[in-house]
Amino acid sequence: MSIELASKGEGRILYLVIALLLLHLTLISIQVEDPSGTLLFKKCVLLAASPMLNGASNAARAFSHFWTGYLWLHGARAENARLKEDVRQLVLLNSSLAQAEEENSRLQRLLAFGVSFPYQTLGARVIGRTPNFLSSTLYLDRGSLDGVRADQPVVSDAGVVGRTVLVTSNNCQVQLITNADASVGVMVERTRVPGVVRGTENLLLDLNYIGNTEEVNVGDALVTSGLDGIFPKGLPVGKVVDSQKGKTGFRTIRVEPSADIIRIEEVLVLLGPPKPVTDPLTPGAVK
């Protein structure tokens, strides 16, 4: 019993000593400044408090992160889905606008071409083509109700595309110049040598009936001669990409079409004879 009491007393004294020593150290720190002029007490308090401050700060940050990262985002999935939908729609809209702008540009070029060309023209949109990479037939959104007839020339702003072959009330079929059955009367623009261009079911055309003696060079432009009774004279047809003398007395000439046959989307159908042109000097008169 006495040992127990003694041990209790000893422990109490130890605590008391520690407490008193700490008291004195605290007293010193309240009065003594470090070289920077800061009271040691403040420094000690800060030193002692910093782990707690850091802990509290970390806890607050963790809670904030948990709150904003999980609880606050309970509706994020729905919002994310909505935003994705918005983005998809905007992408479509953007794509649509880009296409519209491109189409506008193409139509402007086509319109300019039509205006400059002395023929009655009808703008048409390509609505279909035969399911073949080297498509040789197109379908347009114009038909007999629009004034389209068979065997009317179809052109783009770059040149000859083909001719109408089959016409319904609202649509028509166009035989491209690349079609093996298609032929166009042409002439070499530079030398005015006439010939006939034929389709080959290939991207390149054959220029026939040009004698070996004629001078046709690579790069020479071909235009319609107007002799086939379908295409008016002077429409661009293509450029010579290969020209060699043949064994049969005629040159073997390969021609690249001027019109972009593969990517064409809008065309002009030449409806009829040249538009009547009013003489500005004599109003009402037709030339």
Partner: protein, 161 residues
Amino acid sequence: MKYLFLAGSSLLAITAQMIVGTHFFLFNFVDLSLILITYWAFYRSRTQALFVGSLTGILQDAVLGWPLGYNGFGKTLAAFVIAEASRRFDVEGGWVRFVLMAASSCLSSLSMFALFLLLQRSSSSIFLGASLLQALITAGVGVLLFAALDTYNRVHTKRVG
């Protein structure tokens, strides 16, 4: 009442140290507060000895114009050592008391010196030398005083008996 007496005795020790030390230079080498602490540890309560150590230390700091706590720290440490020694060992012998008091005084001075160094307060080796001298003188005076007290107590006890 007990603690009031404790505080009064502490104050008296410091005041006496000041007054006597002013007139007799050598008396400055007698650490009355340490003798008081030892008295309390030997003859009264060890716990109270600790309070006496703290209080006299603080009062000494106040008198010296030092930041409060230097002497308090040292004296508390000394009080603890003396109190523990008196509990564990037989401290009736004069030499034992001398050694114990001198050692405690040195410990007190060393702890203050260490605090000086830690807190970058200017100190000199003279302090250590003076402290050693003070420890020896204080221990000597203390041993004599306690011997006189013991004698007085014995005589007084006999008379009462």
